[in-house]
Symmetry: C2
């Protein structure tokens, strides 16, 4: 039985459901909310439902999007013959910070991980292959993390895509092996992009 | 400029405002919300505003309360001649787990900390002294953390309360010095309660 009044216990339980938030952190966050100005709490609650309700995933590249098609896919100034494949939407932000890549993206929403039971059917791979049927497609840049799962996914994609006559490259290992794409500094990531190699 | 669509950037900003949540954690939490079932997100949002709007602080003991007076203060089975003074509402939960203490509580909402500019006027001390005017009051048990701030607050309270003819005791140092009341195991906290000493 929770020693806290119902609404507080309910809020602690909601915080505990978030990834990486334990019992003590959930309590700390809930107590913080009780001391916040009531308008701030209302704005936080609205931000939650509004983000969830107004955002979906782009039907082309699977990135987070407010409309059916995301801003990058709808932008006529982007090169339509290059696709950069990333694991998560936040990795697109890392690539965009370079101000160097001008092509499109594809978000897999994960990486192959046989040990965790994550196979190609759990990722947005079929949707990627569909996009490559367009004959004008020149290159797929695989920008997965340089980890076991990232390497596995990159090699799998290369085997899948090359027979379609599309060039497959990968970010150079300029980043520390075992690191996370999302944490790389711009200079490192830029050189990794420039020295991307044929798979 | 945020690389994320408006509603997502807004949600990340809200998470970042919480204590102990950095940029990367805020992004991780916000992305998690986008993948949660929409009903779960609505329930989370409601839990936030409901907790904040339905809960206040007990006008007697300053504990979190749904009504004007909290459940403990309204319970006629509690001894009304003993008050246990704690720093935070969560410390009441720690004491209640003992199933040993049957008196009332008083929440200071902080501890004296001259370096941080927190003096008696920033805590619920005046409200505590008001309660001691009741002639039937026998004992004040100071249950502050065994830290510099907790010790300072306990000594300050002893000096303030003893002249009123009320016994002032303190939890024994059975807990590791520098530790947090809220993290102590029940056995340790129980012995600390049993060997509470006169101040």
């Amino acid at each position: 039985m929770s020693p806290f009044p119902g609404p507080l216990a309910a809020l602690i339980a909601e915080f505990e459901r978030l990834p990486g938030v334990g019992v003590k952190s959930a309590q700390r966050l809930a107590f913080h909310v009780l001391r916040m100005p009531v308008d701030d709490v209302r704005r936080f609650g609205q931000a939650l439902t509004q983000a969830r309700e107004s955002l979906g995933f782009c039907r082309v590249c699977q990135n987070i999007s407010e409309g059916e098609t995301c801003e990058i896919c709808s932008d006529p100034r982007r090169r339509a013959d290059q696709i950069c494949v990333v694991a998560e939407p936040k990795d697109i932000a890392a690539m965009e910070r370079l101000n160097e890549y001008r092509g499109l993206y594809h978000v897999l929403h994960g990486l192959l991980s046989p040990l965790d039971g994550i196979g190609p059917e759990n990722l947005k791979m079929r949707e990627l292959i569909e996009r490559l049927r367009d004959e004008s497609m020149q290159e797929v840049v695989v920008a997965t993390n340089p980890t076991v799962e990232g390497d596995t996914t990159a090699l799998y994609l290369a085997r899948l895509i090359k027979p379609l006559g599309v060039r497959v490259t990968r970010l150079a290992h300029g980043m520390p092996v075992g690191g996370e794409l999302d944490y790389a500094d711009t200079a490192t990531l830029l050189s990794a992009f420039e020295y991307r190699r044929e798979l």
